[in-house]
Symmetry: C2
Subunit: 227 residues, 2 copies
C-alpha cells in the first residue's frame, strides 16, 4: 500500500486543530480511505460499516461524520485511493496497444490485491471520485488520439475492464481450481485440456490473462458494427 | 437477456414430491441449494451461514448437517445449481464461435441474476460440483472438436469466463455509472466518449459485452504464443 499522505492531513483544518493528540485524532479523508480499505481487506466488504470504520480509526461515529457524510462517500474515497494505484502513464507516451497492456496489467494487479472490492467498484458511480475520473480521462484521451471511433471508446474501455475485473478474481483463485478429482474419467476433454495447460509450466491465471488480453487487443480494433 | 430456465425446478422429482407440504420437511440437497441461493440473493453473500441457512429452511442445524457437511459443500451445491442454468447446448451442434456466443450470453445473464455469487464462484473449486464439471466438459470438447491447440483450451475458457464474470457485474451497474457530474470540463475526452456512446441509443452494458465478445472471438483463434 502507498505511504501516508502527511501533506494532505495538515491541509485539513480539522486535522490541524488536533495535531499532537493521541491516536484517533488527525482524522482526514485519506486516512479514512486507508482504514476502510484495510477493514475490507481484513474482514470483507460487509464488515465496512460507518460504526466499524469509526472504531477502526479510534474515533467516535460523530467525528467520522464530520469528514464524510455516508458510506457511499467512503466508498468513493476508497475507489479514488485504489484507482490511484493503477498505472495509466502509458496513454500519454506509448502506442495505444502498449499503453493498454501496461494499464491492464497494473489494473489487474491492483484489484487482485483488493479482490473483495471488485464487485463493489465494478458498479460504483465515478462522479464523486476525481482521481478515478482522471484515470478515465487519460485512457479515453489515449483512445481518441489513436483515432478510435468516438462512440466505440466507452464500449472498448468497459469490455477491457470487465475482462480485467474477472481476471483479478481469477488471479486470487486457488491454483487447483480446475482439479477434477474422482470424476476425471467422466470429463475426458476437460481433464486433457487442464493437464495440457499445466504441462506448459505457465501460471494458469497469468496464462489466461495474457492470452485473453492479446486476443482483445487483436480483435478490438476491427471496430464498430461487430456487436 | 435470456429467459429463466424454470424447467429446472419442476423437473426436480424431489421438488414435485413435496409440493403442498409444510416448509422444512423433506430436506434434500437441491432444496438446500435453492434456499442458499435465495439467502445470498436477498441478503448478500456474507449472510450465508449454516445457521442462517437452517433457519431459512425451517430446520435445525443438525438436520441440515445430515445433508451437507460444511458451508463449502453448500457452496458447491449452489455452484452446481447456478451453472446448470447456463446454456451450453451449442457446443454439441453449432460452429464453435456460435456455440461460444450462445454460452457466453447465457452465462452472463445467469450471473447478472446472481451477481453476489460472482466473486464466490469465480474462485470456487470445480471438483465437488458434477454438473459444473459437465459444463466444462461440453465446452472443452467443443474447442477440441474445432481443432483448438489443446494447451490453449483452458486459457481460452478462463479468458472468456473472466470477461463474462466482469460483464455480469457491469450488467447490474447503474445506467449512470459514467455520469461525470460537475467535473465534466476537466475530463473532456471521457465526457465526449460517454455522450457519443449514449447517442447510439444502445444499452451501455449490452453494447460493451457484444463489442468485447466479438473482439475476443476475432482475436482468440490467432492461437498460442501471443501471451
Amino acid at each position: 500500500m502507498g505511504t501516508t499522505t502527511g501533506a494532505a492531513s495538515t491541509a485539513d483544518p480539522a486535522a490541524r486543530r488536533k495535531a499532537g493528540r493521541p491516536r484517533g485524532e488527525l482524522l482526514n479523508r485519506p486516512k479514512i480511505a486507508r482504514a476502510a480499505l484495510r477493514l475490507v481487506g481484513d474482514r470483507g466488504y460487509d464488515a465496512l460499516t460507518m460504526s466499524a470504520l469509526a472504531k477502526a480509526l479510534g474515533v467516535s461515529a460523530s467525528a467520522l461524520y464530520n469528514h464524510v457524510e455516508s458510506k457511499q462517500e467512503v466508498l468513493q474515497l476508497v475507489q479514488d485511493q485504489v484507482m490511484d494505484e493503477v498505472d495509466c502513464s502509458g496513454f500519454a507516451t506509448l502506442p495505444l496497444q502498449d499503453a493498454i497492456r501496461r494499464w491492464a496489467a497494473s489494473y489487474r494487479d491492483v484489484f487482485a490485491r483488493h479482490a473483495p472490492l471488485v464487485p463493489v467498484i465494478a458498479v460504483l458511480q465515478v462522479s464523486g471520485s476525481p482521481r478515478t475520473l482522471r484515470m478515465y480521462e487519460e485512457v479515453a484521451a489515449g483512445f481518441a488520439r489513436a483515432g478510435w471511433e468516438t462512440s466505440r471508446i466507452i464500449p472498448a474501455i468497459v469490455a477491457l475492464e470487465s475482462f480485467i475485473f474477472g481476471s483479478a478474481l481469477d488471479a486470487v483463485a486457488p491454483q487447483d481450481i480446475f482439479d477434477v478429482g474422482p470424476l476425471a474419467d467422466e470429463v475426458p476433454a476437460f481433464s486433457t485440456a487442464v493437464d495440457s495447460q499445466r504441462a506448459t509450466g505457465k501460471d494458469p491465471a497469468q496464462d489466461a490473462f495474457g492470452y485473453g488480453l492479446e486476443a482483445l487487443l487483436r480483435g478490438l480494433p476491427a471496430g464498430p458494427g461487430s456487436a
